[in-house]
Every structure is written in structure tokens, then in C-alpha cells.
Point group: C2
Chain length 226, copies 2
Amino acid sequence: MEPVEPLARHFEDELHRLKDRLLVMGGLAEERVRMAIRALVDREPAVAQQVIHGDAPLNALHIEIDNRCFTLLALYQPMASDLRTVVAAAKIATDLERVGDLAVNISEAGERYLLHPPVKPLIDIPRMAALADGMLRDALDAFVRGDTALAQSVLERDDELDGLKTQVFRELLTYMLQDVKTIEPALDLILISRHTERIGDHATNIAEDVIFIVSGRDVRHHTEDI
Amino acid sequence: MEPVEPLARHFEDELHRLKDRLLVMGGLAEERVRMAIRALVDREPAVAQQVIHGDAPLNALHIEIDNRCFTLLALYQPMASDLRTVVAAAKIATDLERVGDLAVNISEAGERYLLHPPVKPLIDIPRMAALADGMLRDALDAFVRGDTALAQSVLERDDELDGLKTQVFRELLTYMLQDVKTIEPALDLILISRHTERIGDHATNIAEDVIFIVSGRDVRHHTEDI
């Protein structure tokens, strides 16, 4: 990381740079998911291997962004929505790192899947991945622009993703029950669909953070002792 | 939440109270996981239902702890390891809330599992749950005491959990291949073992936060442009 020069730039400039770096990290995480799905659909184990062994850049960005957040908090002591934005940025970086881990999980199950003949043409899993990818991109855009309507639309799409996961599960279960040879590869497809659904969960986390940043929580009432 | 009186208490007192509340939240999350596993082992769908519909207290604690963190940051502008501790507390609360969600996921799969005759005596899944539970408790203790050696031991136990998950997977696959009637319930046990493994992942996240709080990261070198 280039040294962030204390107080040399304004807080707003640093925050802008932080958001830029989060978008770069998001783009990288999305790219890894797309590669993992491409490896599966195009039956390219070499691409899966690339994903499995290629998590260093994303991890380095995670560390860099975390450091930027702590530096911003320590140097500028932001308040109210600025404070919430910086803390949310640190949480979002964690979400994006996990998305990268899920791309690895998908690639690992994908590698095993490719050892067998295809169970069926893959349609719903790429659809799930495209949906999750769109949710993640929109959640990050919503964060950068403080757009709660866009964040809300991400939350709403999570049900669609969940519905597709259930559909994939039922269909694959039918294959497994009909033909014992499909059990192992179908199981890996079920796991891949769950990993993909979890990418949507991370997009949902980010969207919830956006709504929290903009609306705050100070007015909420809740009990102390539970 | 009781109003946190601005500057009426010292930062150290507030931080102590924050840690206490995190321990309460951790205890509640662990209790939900234990109930979910008990419902499965003792074949008690009513207990699974309790877990599925009982996430309000944990969610309320999450909000309360998040608010405490933001209040602490805004009022006291802590530096260095105090700053890292408060931000880590907010992250840990998110991890604990997800552990509660995983207890729900386990209970949902458990309910489905209980609709079928048992596939096999459950030994490894309760072992996995006990291991994950111990990791979570130790990770939180390590956080409260700033004990990096304990945090390190949590990280090391994650491999054991991963090994058990692989063993469970292989064993259940054998059942599924031998008897088509076991496919559905065995699939749910596989999902439960994965949810349990993810509880260990959250314990690992917390342990990594502890090591970060104590050691800091300022000395790390990494490149700016990836």
C-alpha cells in the first residue's frame, strides 16, 4: 500500500479512494465467480485450477482496504454517516473476501464434477450465478452512490435466488433417485448451487449495510437485557 | 438499549461492558447450535421448531452491540488496539448472528431428516458440533482476554473439523450409493455437516480478528495496485 499521508488529503478524497478500491475488489471477486462457473459449464478443469490457486490478489486487497479503514478512523474520527460508511467498508471487504472463497469452493466441487459425465445440461446454475453476480454488483454500486432504492432491489432478488436453489435441489434429487451413477456428480451440483446462493447472501449483507449507512439506527428501540 | 451516557463512564468501562454483551451473544448463539443438534440426535422436531422461530433475541443483541460500537467510536475516538478492538467487536457480532442463522439452517435440514427413518447412528456430526462449539467459545474467550495463543489454537482445530466433514461426506455417500432410500436423508446430513463446519469458519474469523487486534497490521508490506 502506498503510505496514506496523514491529513495531507481531505477525508472526502480518502473516502472516495476507499470506495474506488472496494469497487476494484468487487470486480475481482465477481471475476473469480464467473471463472468458477465458466470452468464448470465449459468443462475446463484448468480454469478451475486458476481460481483455486489465485486468491492472493483478493486477499491483498482485503488487507489494504482494512488498513485504509483503520487509518481513516484514526486520522479523521468521522461521525454519523461517515463513520458508518467507513465501518461498513471494512465489513464489505470481508464479504468480498468470502465471495472469493466461495469461488474456490465452487471450483473445487466443479473439479470433482468434471471427473464424471455430465448429469444434465447446466441452465439453472449459470442463471443463479448471473443473478448473484448482478446482486453483488448492484449492492456495491448502491454503497458507492448511497442508493437505498437499489439496495432494496438487491434484497428483493434474494428470494428469486432462493427459489432457483430449491428448484435445482429438487431436480437433482430426482436424477439421484433414478440413477445411482448420478449421485456423486449431482451432489456436487447441489453444493455448487448452495455456494452460489451464499454469494447472494453476501450481496444482501452489503445491501443491508447501505440501508443502515443512509438511515442510521439511533432511533431504534430495543431492550437491554435479553 | 439503555442510553449510553456520553462520557459519563470511562472508555475502559464501556469496552468492558461491550465485551460482556458479546459473551452473552456468544452464549446465546452456542445454545441455539446445541439445541439444533439435540433436535436432530434426540429426534425432537419441536426443539427444531423452537430454534427456527427463536432468532429474535440474537438479532436484538446484534443491533445493540452494533450501536454500542458506533457510540464508542463516536464518543471516545479510540486509537490503535482500542480502535481495532471496537471494530472487531462489530465484526464479531455479525459472525455470531450468522452462527444463529446456521443453527436455523441445521434445524430446517434436521426437520426434513426426521421425516425419514435414521440412516445411521449419529456420531461424527455431534462430534463436529462439539468441536465447533468449543472453537467458538475459545475464540470469544481469546477476544475478551486478548489471548493470541488461544486464538492460534482455534485456527489449528479448523483442520480437524474439515477432516470430520470429509469423513462424514464419504461415509454418507457410501450409504446413498448402496440404498436409494437413504439419498434424501443422507443429503440432509451432508448439509448439516457443512453448516456445522461453517460455524467453525466463523470461530476462525473471530480468532483471526483477535490476532489482528493484538499484533496490528501496520508493519505488513503489500502492493498498492493489483
